[in-house]
Amino acid sequence: MKERAVEIRRITQKRPDIFLLTVRSAALANQARPGQFLHVKTDECTTILRRPLSIHRREKQDLSLLVKVRGRGTRALLRRAPGERLNVIGPLGNGFTLSPFPDGGTTMLIAGGIGVAPLVFLAQRLTGTAKRPSTGRKIALIGARTRGEVLCAPEFRRRGFTVKKATEDGSAGRKGSVIELARDLLAARGDARPLRIFACGPEQMFFRLRAAINELCPEPERVRCQVSFEQFMGCGVGVCCACAIPTRQGYKKVCKDGPVFSLHELKERGTE
């Protein structure tokens, strides 16, 4: 973790409210692991604190962020220009744990909306550069409001994932949420072959996912499920204690203990 001014290489608009921002830093690119984030100073005028953004993709010395425009900071970031320097601290956070996984098992990625961002880097790591690419079934579930908002399907396909979609209006894939899609798949499995899930999206999605696993998987405690969690953040490096979330072991910091948590340890907000 280090503070750096990195060069902005490209800013590409993907959808009206979604853009890809690519920065160059060999050092950052070499250190970064899937699930980690950069704490980005988007601009000097309209914002004060940094904004956490997941590392979306790595290509050699370049790292990309996939950003949804939400408020002042993300809007300011979109207005930056290639060639400018972007002040970032990173890579931060624990990242996904990629422990050995049995060959016959299924790897399932579940993305809700912009939650797809860290999962593309994870898919890269699970297939491309790994010394021993994992075999077994690989599925990516992508949820969005409409067909036009489904993100990154080709990126997952290219890496050998079967892509399934869910849209709220039914314009692509299953009508409904990505969790309903996950429920269909979990119900259809009906056996206890190894399953690991990596998920990122709105918080409520996680608790509905946990309910689905508990209800539909024969041995729910054996399903390894890691989720990347969001919380308003201060320093990003573990000193201010602002980004606390409730877990079964008390409050934990999203920036330092996370952002990736085991789904089993999370507590629903309002139940702390």
């Binding site: 100073k41 004060i48 604190l49 308003f232 000193v239 201010c240 409730p246």
Partner: protein, 312 residues
């Protein structure tokens, strides 16, 4: 002015600091966690996150929210308690040779006294800062909103330690000079101004307050003029040194606080954004002194008052 440029040493209470730039409590952790992200050589002292007698798990999240011009927080004094602080954090600070001030808090006067007593025997502690913005159990308001209690509490702590005692005051009072005088009368060696202002924000989509604890402390660039005013007023009212801060981001901001009467400045919110900011601000202060031919930073303290007299 010697060849190495203007002297940046300052005296606050019973000790000297190698730099007048101090990290405000709660925004730099315990000072030890940042490693290469920070530039310790520029920091006069790190004020550690407020520590209490017993561990505290902190407030219900969300604990931070950025508004258009400032930052709201309600951390709720999450900390491991004084015992673990002394056992684990103090040795690390000493190993890293970081000068540090310990911020203490509590809900009763006896808790502050007990903390001061414990810390009096701990080597390396440069000063004890009383976070008087903690709600008092009996009064249901902050200690530093009440002058009698402020004086009594400071005096109680004073009796239990030979270390420098700094009283950190809330700006949320009708007349901060009254409280400042009460702290001075109680035996404080120095004052720290200011802690955060009360504030809140609501989500217009859902109607829900943005902070889990509904309201919290407002800090950052928005509060600078308000804080500067209080430092100015308190400088006129007391004769003990003032550590001034609230919204400082740049060297110019810091200079304003010196001119208004601060003997040292504290950086809060900006630390969370630029952990190395103390270095840039210290450098900026030095350049300013050099430009004006002022041999030491201490000479700048309160200069604005002289100028104001001449103009007025």
């Amino acid at each position: 002015m010697n060849r190495r440029g203007p002297s940046m040493n300052v005296r606050v209470g019973r000790c000297r600091y190698r730099s007048p730039v101090i990290c405000a409590s709660g925004t730099f952790g315990y000072g030890t966690e940042l490693g290469a992200l920070a530039d310790y050589s520029a920091i006069g002292a790190v004020t550690t996150k407020t520590v209490t007698l017993d561990p505290r798990e902190g407030n219900r999240p969300p604990r931070i929210f950025e508004t258009a011009h400032g930052v709201l927080n309600s951390i709720g004094l999450e900390n491991p308690g004084i015992e673990r602080f002394c056992r684990e954090i103090v040795p690390a600070l000493r190993r890293m040779k970081i000068p540090f001030i310990v911020s203490i808090g509590g809900t009763t006067q006896s808790e502050y006294e007990e903390l001061a007593r414990i810390l009096d025997r701990v080597a390396g502690v440069k000063a004890v800062e009383l976070n008087l913005s903690c709600p008092n159990l009996r009064l249901k308001k902050m200690v530093s909103q009440e002058k009698v209690l402020t004086k009594k509490l400071v005096a109680g702590v004073r009796r239990r330690t030979t270390k420098t005692v700094i009283a950190k005051l809330t700006p949320e009072v009708t007349d901060i000079t009254e409280i400042a005088r009460a702290a001075e009368a109680g035996g404080a060696d120095a004052l720290s101004l200011v802690n955060t202002y009360y504030g809140m924000a609501l989500n217009v989509e859902t109607g829900v307050p943005r902070l889990g604890s509904v309201y919290g402390g407002y800090s950052g660039r928005a509060i600078k003029p308000l804080s500067l005013y209080r430092v100015w007023r308190v400088y006129q009212a007391v004769s003990i040194p003032v550590i001034g801060g609230g919204g400082i981001e740049t060297a110019d901001d810091a200079i304003e606080f010196f001119l208004a009467g601060a003997s040292a400045v504290s950086l809060g919110t900006v630390n969370m954004v630029y952990p190395k900011c103390a270095a840039g601000i210290k450098k900026g202060l030095q350049a300013y002194l050099r430009r004006r031919g002022i041999p030491r930073i201490a000479r700048l303290t309160g200069e604005g008052h002289e100028r104001a007299k001449r103009v007025g």
